[in-house]
């Protein structure tokens, strides 16, 4: 294929072609018995299942549970992470005191906490929220801490000379400056929040997407597992796109690297 065609066909077309190609390969492979349907299911079956889950409305209660858990763990985790990040970045003594314990806590694989949270908070949503918070908190905390520490001292001095009080410094200089860092952590932590609560549901729950996946697995229903995965992936992408828009608006003062790249290209 010539260089000219490569450039004139938009990337989106290539991307769709790649996805469609892989899915057809899968579909054909199972239809002609090169792959076992029992273990691999089939894209058409998965699509049908997803459609049925939405058509009968059975998915909504599960989706609502998972999203509530994810939203709560995200909200609580971000709030706690930002507050602690600020506190420790502004208080060196406290930061030095807590440093080893934060490292230890962060070194723990969060999944092993899930059974303990299940014992503490029961089968309901709060055991999942707790798990999600432990994941989100550390990501946001470290980024906020770093963001506040990296504030340009000249900008701080300038605001001080212009009459800023300690509180005004936080509001006008520290928070906006740390926002870039906090936002880069939001992208990751929103995905992780959803993953964490699904893992929690998977290990013990009576509702949620993770629960439906676990149920399907229990009866070797691979189609059900893939259907759950598909819905999860779609939700994470949708929420991610929302965060993207919010970020673009909040960080509109930054040079837009995308635009400049487009101008050069």
């Amino acid at each position: 294929m010539s260089e000219a065609t490569k450039r004139s066909v938009p990337m989106l077309v290539w991307q769709v072609l790649l996805g469609a190609g892989l899915l057809s390969l899968w579909q054909v492979g199972v239809t002609y018995r090169w792959m076992d349907k029992f273990f691999f299911s089939r894209p058409s079956d998965v699509a049908e299942r997803v459609w049925k889950m939405f058509a009968t409305g059975s998915v909504w209660a599960h989706l609502a549970t998972t999203m509530t858990e994810a939203a709560l763990s995200f909200g609580i985790g971000v709030f706690a992470g930002v507050v602690f990040g600020f506190l420790l970045a502004r208080n060196r003594w406290l930061a030095a005191l807590l440093d080893p314990y934060i490292r230890i806590a962060n070194a723990l694989p969060r999944v092993v906490l899930a059974p303990i949270f299940l014992l503490w908070f029961g089968l309901g949503i709060w055991s999942k929220v707790a798990l999600g918070v432990t994941v989100v908190f550390f990501i946001v905390f470290f980024n906020t801490y770093q963001g506040v520490r990296e504030v340009d001292p000249v900008q701080l001095d300038n605001a001080r000379m212009l009459g800023a009080s300690e509180r005004q410094l936080i509001r006008h200089v520290l928070i906006p400056s740390a926002l870039t860092w906090i936002f880069s952590s939001l992208h990751i932590s929103i995905g992780f929040a959803i993953i964490a609560v699904v893992v929690g549901e998977y290990l013990g729950a009576s509702r949620g997407i993770g629960y439906t996946i676990a149920q399907a697995e229990g009866v070797f229903d691979t189609t059900g597992v893939f259907a759950g995965m598909t819905i999860l992936a779609a939700v994470v992408l949708l929420v991610g796109a929302g965060v993207d828009r919010l970020e673009r608006w909040l960080l509109r003062w930054k040079p837009n690297r995308d635009t400049s790249a487009r101008q050069v290209g």
Binding site: S165, P176, L179
Partner: protein, 267 residues
């Protein structure tokens, strides 16, 4: 010139290096800056010019000595002073007008009046049409214009400037110096201006203060520059009297610059 706006008495500032060595940046600094005068501080690089300015701003505490601002002992931030920094100090997340009105906003002034006044300043420093731009969209010279408005809008009694135009090209710099002189002539505040460029110092100032090479620099010369005002910065450097001032001050400064070369060679 009878009122003293800034009085530095026996000022010294020591730093402790990470290795624990004590290092004296400046010492025995005594200087009276008259109200409404334009005073430049020149000296070889690393002689502690900025240190003096930062202490006068209240951003840094002197290790010894006192600072009086209009007769009052300075404690904490110097509330009667504005500061123009060498680096970019505009807040990148605020628009031009948002940056210019920041000082009024922080002092709790009425939002609508502040905005109106800030918009007047946008025009006044020649940024018409850029009020809603963000700093990254401006050139270096335009950012300096915004910084100028930001410092002047709060009607300070004293403006401190730390090589504010060091990063600009020669022509932009000349224009900015002209703007500074215009603003200063209109408002009549005291300016303390730090630079390593002697020509710039003579062209702008009423008085040039020469610092010795660091460490432990101190004032080695003070020269009144009574060139007539308003000054034409484009032609002033070719005037014979400018040359006389330049030669007189340079003979002092030259020694210090050579000393600072020797010391940096040793180090």
């Amino acid at each position: 010139m009878s009122i003293v706006s800034v009085k530095l008495t026996n000022l010294a500032r020591r730093f402790v290096s990470p290795k624990g060595n004590r290092y004296t940046a400046v010492q025995n600094i005594s200087l009276d800056v008259g109200k409404g005068s334009f005073v430049s501080i020149v000296g070889p690089s690393g002689c502690g010019k900025s240190t003096i300015l930062n202490m006068t701003a209240g951003l840094m505490e002197p290790s010894e000595g006192t600072i009086h601002v209009f007769g009052e002992r300075l404690k904490g931030i110097n509330r009667r002073a504005s500061y123009m920094f060498q680096q970019d100090a505009l807040l990148p997340w605020k628009t031009v007008v948002g940056n210019i009105e920041l000082g009024l906003h922080l002092r709790g002034k009425d939002a609508k009046e502040s905005r109106e006044l800030a918009l007047q300043w946008v025009d006044r420093v020649g940024l018409k049409g850029f009020a809603d731009s963000y700093p990254y969209q401006l050139s270096g010279g335009m950012r300096k214009r915004a910084a100028m408005a930001q410092a002047w809008i709060v009607k300070p009694d004293i403006v401190l400037m730390d090589e504010p135009f060091g990063a600009l090209d020669v022509h932009t710099r000349l224009r900015m110096e002209g703007e500074i002189l215009r603003l200063w002539a209109e408002s009549g505040e005291t300016v303390m201006f730090v630079t390593h460029d002697l020509e710039e110092a003579i062209a702008l100032s009423d008085e040039v203060v020469v610092l010795s090479a660091g460490p432990g620099s101190t004032i080695v010369g003070q020269y009144g520059v009574d060139l007539p005002r308003p000054r034409n910065l484009i032609d002033i450097k070719t005037e014979p009297r400018f040359g006389e001032f330049y030669r007189a001050i340079w003979s002092d400064l030259r020694k210090e610059v050579l000393k600072s070369y020797e010391r940096s060679d040793e180090a």
